[in-house]
Amino acid sequence: MASNRKFGRRSVLKGTAGITGAAIGSGAITGFPVIWAQNNKNIVLRQCGTGVSAINEIAEKCKADLGITLQMTALDSDAVVQRVVTQPNSFDIGDIEYWMIKKVFPGGNLQAMDVKKIKLFDKIVPIFTTGKLKPDSVIAQGTAPSTVSFVEGQGSTKFAKSPTQWFTIVPTIYNADTLGIRPDLVGRKIENWKDILDPKFKGKTSILNIPSIGIMDAAMICESAGIVKYGDKGNMTKAEIDKTIDFLIKTKKDGQFRAFWKTFDESVNLMASGEVVIQSMWSPAVSAVRGKGVPCVYQPLKEGYRAWGGGLSLAKHLQGAQLDAAYDYINWYLSGWVGAFLNRQGYYSAVLETAKANMTPDEWGFWMEGKPAQGDIKNPQGQVVEKAGAVRDGGSFYERMGAVACWNAVMDEDRYMVQKWNSFIAA
């Protein structure tokens, strides 16, 4: 039985890669997965994670292809960390972000996965394995994924410096973040992170109020404005934290900020209603603002991007058929359909070539290569998000992911940073 199944899995993956190249979309794949469904139809996997990747279409497609029932719970990032650390039996798949790994993996509620069971491991974008996007790339500051991607052995919670057989999470979704602007309202060229401090925008700016991410945006701004010079923005010293927060407090008291947002929809509403004209933003939020017919640009900046990434981790208690199903799910995730789905939302997927096989050349050119769209570009739900001729803000995958200045991070002085952040919000 078990060997049958492995054979089935392999052939499906090989099959889909070839077939989907010609037949785009989901039609071609449906013939095969019946084999999988036999094995997994009673399996339920409970996945908890951030809203960004709790996508119903993925759960439906997973049910159709694999027979696995995915129960997704969407929480905010802090709640995910809490859940993983304090309620280890309440989930099977932890959909976590790289910066969280440093916090949750040492807690021992997750198990490292065997890279030998991950079919497309060699095809995963090297940011997540060796850390170098291209052989000559420099690893960015912050919690770079490669620094927390591997542990020293099965059952170990000690992060390995170079790739081992034991992978902490399989990357699924990542992106490079920058500032979003309202091109119709800013009335000037925006080129640097410090431009958010322009007195012209007094009371019309916002940054996000999630301490671990907000502090990074703040650091990009402070560094750009020459207020603070950091050794490592992702791991500040107490003195650097003090300087950064003091500057933020001063800026807040001067009335530069309109609000501090914490959730995706807040950022969309702030921008769409014109309450702010320049703010920290996430890529799909920019699309959502444009979707309302309001112009919005995800402005590339000279200092580079702040990147983030997430992936799937396995709960410690998974074993037997459930563990096999979890590996099936992960392999399926990387096999192309989901990758194409995520790329069409403006995120990036972990295995590029399988995703490419599931996208039209025009879609691939627009989202990944920075080429002007030939025809209308649609989001996964089929709505037109860009008209012919449009070019993605920031350009190609390599231009954007190659210009990452730092990754979202947890600092050694985390506790101190949060206290200071609270004083900034209370000020």
Binding site: F257, F260, Q419, N422, A427
Partner: protein, 284 residues
């Protein structure tokens, strides 16, 4: 015979006592115990430390936040008291027919049929820079520039509190007023009291229990709130509960527990002070 009746009494008290023990005493005891624990990024460590309290009480942020929360409570309390009293007075003394009293009273509760959060959030598009309020004022020519203080400010927070919680003041005061013997009012008038004197020397003293109950509602709700402050101040202001939220979201449970204990003491103290002013039980 006497033993049996004691048994029966204990049995009758048992369900409530058990519920209180399980859902009130045990959780609070746990919070108090945890507030002395140590913690790091990933776990809480059983210990007996005063560090959580030291960090909390010695930080100027805490004091500023507590002051802010108390300020919100007092302002909200004062406004809801005036509005609540006026509404209750109108319902109890100006509306003559019992049917209309009940109808109007129900009208007051209609907003409560929708969710608290929705009633709060609906202020955001109304008060925004390009919101209804600003647009209307600008089209009337009353202002040239949109009023920025309307949204994401302490004004917005208090406005929302008043909107959300005034009913908690109306109901108990209305209840107290309905129990006032009308002949007392007539007696006051016969004795030559003006309507202000009647109000001040007869109605208000007799409404004290209602006012006290309403005040306890308002003060405890506002002190424990975090959603309204966060949404309506746009994250610009802090409240004590928001501090706890922040600590908890970073797994700093002991710090949050210590804060919870301090807030609990403050609220208990406030409520005790109110009870001293008005003996609710005697007057109910």
């Amino acid at each position: 015979m006497k033993r049996v009746s004691a048994w029966v009494t204990y049995l009758q008290v048992a369900p409530l006592a058990l519920i209180f023990l399980l859902f009130l005493v045990v959780p609070i005891a746990t919070i108090i115990v945890v507030s002395f624990f140590d913690y790091n990024t990933t776990q809480i460590i059983p210990a007996f430390l005063l560090q959580n309290y030291e960090e909390l009480l010695l930080s100027p942020v805490t004091w500023a936040t507590y002051l802010q929360t108390i300020q919100f409570s007092i302002i909200t309390w004062a406004i809801t008291l005036v509005i609540g009293f006026a509404v209750a007075y109108f319902l109890a003394f100006e509306v003559r027919s019992t049917t209309w009293q009940m109808v109007l009273f129900l009208v007051c509760t209609i907003p409560f049929w929708t969710s608290n959060v929705i009633r709060m959030i609906s202020w955001i598009p109304f008060l925004g820079r390009n919101g209804l309020a600003n647009m209307t004022l600008m089209q009337l020519g009353l202002i040239r520039e949109p009023l920025e203080f309307l949204l994401f400010s302490n004004f917005a927070v208090v406005l929302t509190y008043v909107h959300l919680y005034t009913l908690f003041m109306v109901v108990p005061i209305f209840n107290s007023m309905m129990r006032i013997d009308r002949s007392l009012l007539e007696a006051a008038r016969d004795a030559g009291a003006s309507s202000w004197q009647t109000l001040w020397t007869v109605i208000v003293p007799l409404c004290k229990p209602g006012i006290a109950i309403g005040s306890i509602f308002i003060v405890t709700i506002v002190m424990g709130d975090f959603v309204t402050v966060r949404m309506m101040s746009g994250g610009q202001s802090a409240s004590v509960s928001l501090m706890m939220m922040n600590a908890m979201s970073l797994l700093q449970y002991p710090a949050a527990a210590a804060n919870a204990v301090v807030l609990l003491l403050l609220v208990l103290f406030t409520v005790a002070a109110m009870m001293r002013l008005v003996d609710i039980r005697k007057e109910l």
